[in-house]
Symmetry: C2
Subunit: 122 residues, 2 copies
């Protein structure tokens, strides 16, 4: 498939896909005229890249992790970085949960000046 279709199917922009290629996160074959061509597997790969990005991993780190995600092998350094990242995500989850609880407390306690949309809906 060409880049436009991949963009549509993954929900990321064409620009982003070209950016991923710049960062060596995503390979593309080329037609004789130079247009990018992707295999089916690219869809899953892009989704994985997006997932890692939105978890706050940098492209450099993702670049390091991707090979071992695919092969299932990791050299020691990579393994350590994997563990470090997992722990970082764990801590981030903890903090997010605390923040959410804080917002919940505010939502629960605050006596609204006027009915809220949700109350109107109820």
């Amino acid at each position: 498939m060409r880049i436009g279709e991949l963009a549509e199917r993954t929900g990321v922009s064409v620009r982003a896909l070209r950016y991923y290629e710049e960062q060596h996160l995503l390979r593309a074959d080329r037609t004789p005229s130079g247009q990018r061509t992707y295999a089916e597997a690219a869809v899953e790969r892009v989704r994985l890249i997006q997932q890692l990005y939105s978890a706050g991993l940098s492209s450099k780190l993702i670049l390091g992790l991707l090979p071992c995600v695919e092969t299932g092998e990791a050299d020691p350094r990579m393994m350590d970085r994997l563990v470090a990242e997992r722990d970082r995500i764990d801590r981030q989850v903890d903090e997010l949960v605390r923040t959410r609880d804080r917002l919940d407390a505010i939502i629960g306690c605050s006596h609204a000046a006027h009915p809220t949309t949700s109350e109107r809906a109820a």
Copy 2:
């Protein structure tokens, strides 16, 4: 207290505190000579700001939320934004957990080429 002490007690930089003031997130009294002076309560406020920042909220959004966090009151629009943000955080937690589990799977399954640091430590 002056800005240096507040910075030290909250762990954020002096620059950041001035930035918060620029964004109207943090008030400061001034001495006749123009130096900023903060009340004790500022410590907690800065910590709250930091918490919201690290949960991914923008300064504009925080600006909107802070008054109702402090007063415990929220007008309907604000209440809706609070709920929306809480839901967003919930979704983000879900995704982070999925990502973490994915990393865990890799960590668990991958047969390292060489012993990892953690294995050496064990």
